[in-house]
């Protein structure tokens, strides 16, 4: 199983290493650095690498590489899933998963890694259990710890590991219980030049109770009783403490998906001079009567584009020269006055005219509507003698929403 873990930053420094079996020299990472040199983008480094004696499985999160060393056959997804779980845990504990935060909390990180794997096999990966073993740091606690000499390690030992519901601590009691459900749906779509939908589907996190025929494929948090879902299409579960993803579902491309906005665009580069023209207008399409918010357009420009001189009727635009990314932050979409971005792109002199027009990546949010039409019809709670607060919120977002030009 997992032999060692190295954390590597973008500049190629190994800033943390942990071995669960015998120690492996960090020179094994050289093979990874070699592959990283070859790749244009850090995302392009292959996740699985073979070296003469080891196999390197890498995950890229934030600006960090989690590189694990494996010596024998193991399902690669097993390792990848685990590494992401480690990153999630750091995120959960420290609010972000970055080099500085890990360096600041190196002891907690080490303690966590120690608990999460034994001999390379995952031991405790549930956040609720881990938090009982090792308390997450807070500013207050670290001050108190320094003054009193106490520590982050829990002094009571956890019970969750041993119960049949490992995701929940025993005896969680609060004076008031609240249950909030966020139904977050994301539209993945590819629109072509003429605005026709090439591909669209809805991905969602969280919760549903009815209209199950629509749901193509679901995955659940382990707390959901699967048998009940299969027979009655009701989600029945004992919730973990805190935030968690109850369920993911997917409405596939075979069902018609409402596309909330349309885009009229023309990007062209002149054959003659070193410049091009850009004109983008966005308007509402099927928004279910709600306002489209947080509208944003991101364009990865061809390398030759040097600068953009544009005028936006609404919102601001920025052009990030080193990364060649044009971002147009529109905000709320006003159906009466459609936002428009127009102007000139100047190209590097002498560079050939770009072959391909860049595609637009669109980000948006619609509050209080689940675009699939899904609704939480009923929410019941058992085992509590008082009436807890319950709330459901719907949000539709753009997932991987791309317009080709």
């Amino acid at each position: 199983m997992i032999h060692s873990l190295f954390l590597i930053n973008h500049s190629g420094d190994i800033f943390l290493e942990k071995h669960w079996k015998s120690v492996i020299s960090h020179s094994v990472c050289d093979y990874f650095f070699e592959a990283k040199e070859k790749a244009v983008d850090p995302e392009d480094v292959p996740p699985v690498l073979q070296t003469p004696h080891h196999y390197l499985i890498t995950v890229h999160r934030g600006k960090l590489f989690f590189l694990s060393v494996v010596q024998t056959e193991v399902p690669p997804l097993f390792v990848i899933e685990f590494l992401h779980r480690v990153a999630d845990t750091f995120q959960d504990y420290f609010g972000e998963c970055s080099e500085s935060v890990i360096k600041d909390n190196v002891v907690t990180v080490y303690e966590l890694l120690e608990e999460m794997l034994d001999n390379g096999f995952p031991l405790a990966t549930e956040s609720n259990v881990l938090k009982e073993l090792i308390r997450p740091p807070t500013i207050l606690r670290s001050v108190v710890n320094t003054l009193t000499g106490s520590s982050n390690v829990g002094d009571t030992l956890p019970t969750g590991q041993l119960s049949t519901i490992p995701w929940r601590r025993a005896d969680v009691k609060y004076t008031n219980n609240e249950a909030y459900f966020d139904v977050i749906e994301e539209i993945d779509a590819i629109l072509d030049k003429s605005g026709t939908t090439v591909f669209a589907e809805i991905q969602a996190l969280c919760f549903s109770s009815h209209n199950p025929r629509l749901l193509d494929d679901v995955s659940f948090h382990p707390c959901v009783r699967f048998k009940r879902w299969e027979s009655e299409r009701t989600l029945s579960f004992i919730p973990p403490d805190g935030n968690f993803t109850l369920m993911n579902y997917h409405v596939s491309s075979q069902n018609p998906v409402a596309i909330p906005v349309y885009v009229k665009q023309s990007i062209s580069f002149f054959e003659s001079g070193p410049c091009g023209r850009l004109d983008i207008t966005i308007g509402p399409k099927q928004t279910m009567g709600k306002t489209v918010e947080a509208l944003m357009v991101k364009i990865h420009m061809p390398k030759a584009v040097l600068s953009a001189n544009l005028t936006a009727t609404q919102g601001n635009y920025t052009y990030d020269l080193p990364n060649k990314v044009l971002v147009w932050d529109i905000g709320k979409l006003n159906p009466q006055k459609l936002p428009n971005l127009k102007g000139i792109l100047s190209l590097q002199a002498g560079a050939p005219k770009p072959e391909d027009n860049p595609s637009l990546n669109i980000d948006l949010r619609i509050q209080q509507v689940a675009i699939s039409g899904l609704k939480v019809s009923r929410l019941e709670m058992f085992g509590e003698k008082y009436k807890p607060f319950k709330g459901v919120k719907y949000v539709t977002k753009a997932g991987k929403f791309q317009v080709r030009t």
Binding site: M1, I14, L16, E17, K18, H19, S22, V23, E43, P46, P47, V48, Q50, Q71, E73, P75, P76, L77, F78, I80, L83, S100, K103, D104, V106, V107, Y110, E114, D118, N119, F121, P122, L123, T125, I139, T146, G149, S151, V153, P158, Q161, L162, T164, D188, I190, E201, Q203, S219, F220, H221, N248, S252, P302, P352, K353, E355, D356, P358, K385, R404
Partner: protein, 1000 residues
């Protein structure tokens, strides 16, 4: 500051230190060793700021308050905290000891040896910081190892981290710590036992192998499943340390495989895979149990169990794929259905059980679990059932980049064999411009695999978009893909070809080059109609500079020179001019072209050929010189060339088979899907081949679990032997009925299966006696508020269970406090799944205000783990749980005083637990003592003389292990001793007894 007056105020300095740290906490003070971890390399920097800090520290010894108000700007602190901190500690400690040449490790050593807990902890944190950075901290070993027995949990944990890292290097010193772990292995707290075992087994020192072996054996019988899980991990560690222990370890594995806990199952299978993957016989008896437990096992365990069961199933069941066209299937693209099948295939019920029980896991949130189920279906399910995994795999494509990569690789392999599976989801494989290159390439691969006559136009339109991509490597891959579509689907060959020809005028060189190469391959398949294209390419030749493309065009010219008789010599003429400046690959093809033209059109090209051959003769590259010499001998007739010359035409202008444009994933199916080997396309270390289906299924009855009615006269060996026989008999005779009732069968078996009770086999000295009567405590099972009127209470009647001797009898009083009658009260699902409960018969009707007492039997397997089950009425289900008290897991045993002493003598050492109890005054009489003890535990009083020693004897219900309690009264206190091999039970019992005796 003088060295002399330093020691007295030493603690003050430390306090200042702590205080400083708390003040600077929010400006990210590097307490975790991040500054010191750089060790000596920081020294110059540290020393630089040393002087400035020196004054700060020296001033405030009298008054803390102005420590940092001595003129240093906080901003400087912030900027320079690392250096400051290093310097501060450096300074403090270097002044404390010798002034110069003290490394920071030296400081740490002294902190570790101090007697202040906080200081030790601080030092350990920095040491861990060093380890995390991969710095050497081994010289601190003696100082660290002293703290191994610390009371502070965090300090202890950090010492453990250190020990595991360095024990191998410092073997002698590491041995000092061993006794601490041995002690900890006997702790009542399961987490302490588990972590002691974890560390003990991680210390890779071969001297302690016997100790580890002993610890593993004990832990594998521990009451806590968590400890047993740790034992399973320790097996692998010990095996890698000393493979000679294999046989003994296999015994432990065998024992743990029988474990019913969901916590243990995954870990023991990992151990099995590592130590003895070939011992399939160990799995037989546990196969059904594993299948049934699977849904409840933790997610990581699920992955390993599923892949192990996949391999198992391939050795035990016959192929569900139709025999006669199985081979053909691999070649064919669509599933062939053979309606006229001679021998009807019936699936082994165990095979079906596995498929059925893994299916729900497709809904897991863990991508590795989903993938492992998908591969299981791929390798084991009948062909028409494999489709159910498609959706789940497509769902995984929403996950992280790395997950996508692996899943796409597997889909690529699957889609070669079975287009139909993924064709409806074709659009999910459309490429986005933001995808990583390797993801794009994989998606392209899959789209190409999915292409057929019906969807090719859609796919080609999509490809046209990709060709224009800014990512040129991807564009080139797309051209390759178009080439593959063109060869695979003859309808579109022409369309593709003309599309590729258009690309020849593309501005980008790589695109053009790739097109040329692909066109070359396509033309080879049908050269007759395409002289136009060859001409076109000749025209473009001047503008193409990528050598691979130039070489391809030259080869085409040579190969089809008779179709372009006018152009070919001209191309050769141009090449003669630029020959010296070309790349090797182009030169070689020029020589080829020259030779071919010489043979077909020697009139026009003789001189040119001579010239080129001469240039080649003096080329720098020996390959070219070599080739030139060979070609000259071959084509130009002279006396030395001999017979070969006659065949020159046939050699050079032989018809050549067209190259196959194939998927890179063509042969990946030799590896089990989802494995590392599949991902890297070569056999990884430790990869276990998936065997072919056996032609004839091995004996199925090996998986039957013993069905033995408890019969008291049999010894253990006899009973298991006999049961094997009987069950295999029944397996053969009733194989037909077994198949039909496959679902209920394993469960039934489990229900009737008894724990082999070793009580008969062991000592005959003690026999089970009549129950001892103590006060009966009633516990609530279900409150009438939660039970919608149904309430339930239970107590332990302390009677031997009627149903099975290994069960604890429980009486349940059911009452109806609602206003309507309740119907069909019965017991539903239970957990853990393997829980052995004898249920009461369904109560058809319970009137309002009525109550009824029913008895049940539960096999707690000598553990205090709660038995959870569902109490069901006609309308509702209520989850309830019975939590046994340790004393109720015993049954009394009578024995004489002599027998008691004899047995006690055998259970000394680790099997003995004792404590001094403060006795409440009311409890000093022997009657009161007996009453209190009996109230806690179901044990029998051993009659003894009128002294102050009270003895009680009992056996655990499930395994029949002796539990001996003795109490020696000494005025107001008493020495309470418990002797039993069940050490965990002993410590729990001890605690309960202590409480009971201390109270009134």
């Amino acid at each position: 500051m003088s060295v002399q007056n330093f020691p007295p105020i030493y603690s003050t300095v430390v306090e200042i230190f702590q205080w400083l740290k708390s003040v600077y906490k929010n400006i990210s003070f590097p307490e975790k060793g991040s500054c010191l971890s750089s060790g000596r390399s920081l020294a110059p920097r540290g020393r630089r700021s040393c002087s400035s800090i020196g004054c700060i520290v020296s001033v405030p010894f009298g008054s803390h308050n102005n420590v940092w108000s001595t003129g240093r700007d906080p901003a400087i602190w912030e900027a320079d905290t690392d250096a400051v901190y290093a310097a501060l500690s450096h300074h403090l400690w270097s002044t404390f000891t010798a002034p110069e040449a003290k490394s920071s490790n030296e400081d740490l050593k002294e902190m570790l040896e101090s007697n202040k807990e906080s200081l030790k902890l601080e030092a350990m944190k920095r040491v861990v910081g060093l380890i995390a950075k991969g710095k050497n901290a081994s010289e601190l070993f003696p100082a660290v190892v002293k703290n191994v027995a610390s009371k502070n949990i965090e300090l202890k944990k950090l010492v453990y981290v250190y020990l595991v890292r360095y024990a191998e290097e410092q073997q002698d010193l590491a041995l000092l710590s061993i006794s601490t772990f041995q002690r900890a292995l006997k702790e009542p707290n399961q987490f302490i036992r588990a972590s002691a075992l974890r560390v003990l087994s991680s210390i890779r020192v071969s001297i302690i192998v016997p100790i580890m072996m002993l610890a593993i054996k004990e832990a594998s019988a521990d009451m806590s499943p968590y400890v047993r899980k740790t034992a399973a991990h320790a097996i692998q560690k010990l095996y890698s340390l000393d493979p000679d222990q294999k046989e003994q370890l296999i015994e432990v594995i065998e024992k743990l495989l029988k474990d019913k806990s969901t916590l243990v199952a995954g870990s023991v299978v990992v151990a099995f895979d590592e130590v003895c993957p070939d011992r399939i016989d160990l799995i037989h008896k546990n196969y059904r149990k594993l299948c049934n437990l699977l849904v409840d096992v933790e997610e990581w365990g699920q992955v390993v169990i599923i892949s192990m069961l996949t391999r198992y199933a391939r050795t035990q069941f016959t192929s569900p794929w139709k025999e006669d066209n199985e081979k053909a299937f691999y070649e064919s693209e669509e599933e062939k259905k053979d309606q006229t099948e001679a021998t009807p295939y019936t699936m082994d019920p165990d095979h079906r059980l596995l498929l059925r029980n893994t299916k729900p896991l497709l809904q897991s949130r863990n991508t590795a679990v989903v993938m492992s189920v998908a591969q299981l279906y791929w390798h084991l399910a009948p062909k028409h059932e494999v489709n159910i995994v498609t959706k789940s795999l497509v769902r995984l494509l929403r996950s992280h980049r790395e997950v996508q990569y692996i899943v796409l690789q597997n889909i690529a392999t699957m889609s070669i064999q079975r287009k139909g599976m993924f064709e409806p989801f074709m659009k999910s494989f459309y490429v986005r411009s933001t995808d990583a290159t390797h993801i794009k390439t994989l998606k392209l691969e899959i789209l190409t695999n999915l292409a057929n006559e019906a969807n090719i136009s859609t796919i080609l339109r999509e490809f046209q978009t990709y060709v224009k991509s800014q990512d040129k490597a991807f564009a080139a891959a797309t051209i390759q893909a178009i080439g593959r579509c063109a060869t695979d689907i003859s309808e579109v060959t022409d369309t593709c070809l003309s599309g590729l020809v258009l690309l020849l005028s593309n501005r980008d060189e790589t695109v053009v080059a790739e097109s040329v190469v692909v066109i070359k391959k396509l033309l080879q398949t049908q050269p007759t109609q395409h002289s136009d294209i060859i001409k076109h390419m000749a025209k473009l030749f001047d503008n193409i500079s990528v050598s691979m493309a130039r070489a391809s065009i030259l080869w085409l010219m040579g190969e089809y020179c008779e179709r372009v008789p006018k152009i070919a010599p001209d191309v050769l003429r141009k090449m003669a001019k630029t020959f010296t400046a070309e790349e090797d690959i182009v030169k070689l093809q020029t020589v080829n072209l020259a030779a071919k033209l010489y043979l077909t059109n020697s009139k026009q090209t003789k001189l040119l050929t001579q010239y080129i051959l001469n240039l080649g003769k003096y080329d720098q590259s020996y390959d070219i010189r070599d080739r030139t010499r060979f070609v000259r001998q071959l084509i130009v007739p002279n006396e030395k060339s001999g017979a070969l010359n006659k065949y020159a035409r046939r050699i050079l202008l032989a018809p050549k088979p067209a190259p196959m444009l194939e998927s890179a994933f063509k042969d990946r199916d030799r590896f089990q899907l989802g494995t590392l080997s599949h991902s890297i396309n070569s056999k990884a270390t430790g990869y276990q081949e998936l065997s072919d289906w056996p032609a004839v299924a091995p004996d199925q009855s090996v998986r039957n679990v013993e069905v033995v009615e408890p019969s008291s006269s049999e010894s253990e060996e006899q009973s298991s032997d006999e049961s094997d026989e009987t069950s295999s008999d029944s397996g053969k005779s009733s194989s037909g009925s077994e198949k039909s009732s496959s679902e209920s069968e394993p469960e039934q078996k489990k229900k009737t299966k008894t724990k082999k009770a070793p009580q008969k086999k062991s000592k005959a000295a003690a026999a089970v006696t009549a129950p001892s009567f103590g006060p009966v405590k009633t516990h609530e099972l279900l409150h009438h508020m939660t039970g919608k009127g149904l309430s339930a209470k239970y107590h332990f009647p302390r009677q031997p269970c009627l149903y099975q001797p290994s069960m604890v009898a429980v009486q349940v009083i059911l009452a109806n406090s609602s206003d309507h009658s309740l119907e069909k009260i019965h017991i539903g699902d239970r957990s853990p799944a393997g829980l052995n409960i004898h249920c009461f018969n369904t109560i058809e009707r319970l009137e309002p205000e009525a109550s009824v007492t029913v008895s049940m039997g539960i096999d707690f397997s000598d553990s205090t783990q709660a038995a959870n089950f569902q109490l069901c009425t006609k309308e509702d289900q209520f989850s309830v749980s019975i939590q046994p008290v340790v004393g109720e897991l015993l049954m009394p045993s009578t024995m004489s005083e002599q027998d008691f002493s004899k047995e006690q003598g055998k259970l000394l050492g680790m099997n003995e637990t004792s404590a001094t109890v403060a006795m409440a005054t009311a409890n000093t009489s022997s009657q009161a003592v007996s009453k209190q003890v009996l109230s806690v535990a179901n044990v029998g009083v051993v009659s003894s003389g009128p002294n102050d020693l009270h003895r009680f004897a009992g056996r655990t219900v499930s395994s029949g292990a002796l539990v001996l309690v003795s109490l020696e009264l000494k005025e107001s206190s008493a020495l309470l001793t418990i002797n039993t091999e069940k050490s965990v039970m002993a410590s729990m019992l001890l605690r309960d007894l202590k409480q009971a005796l201390a109270l009134a």
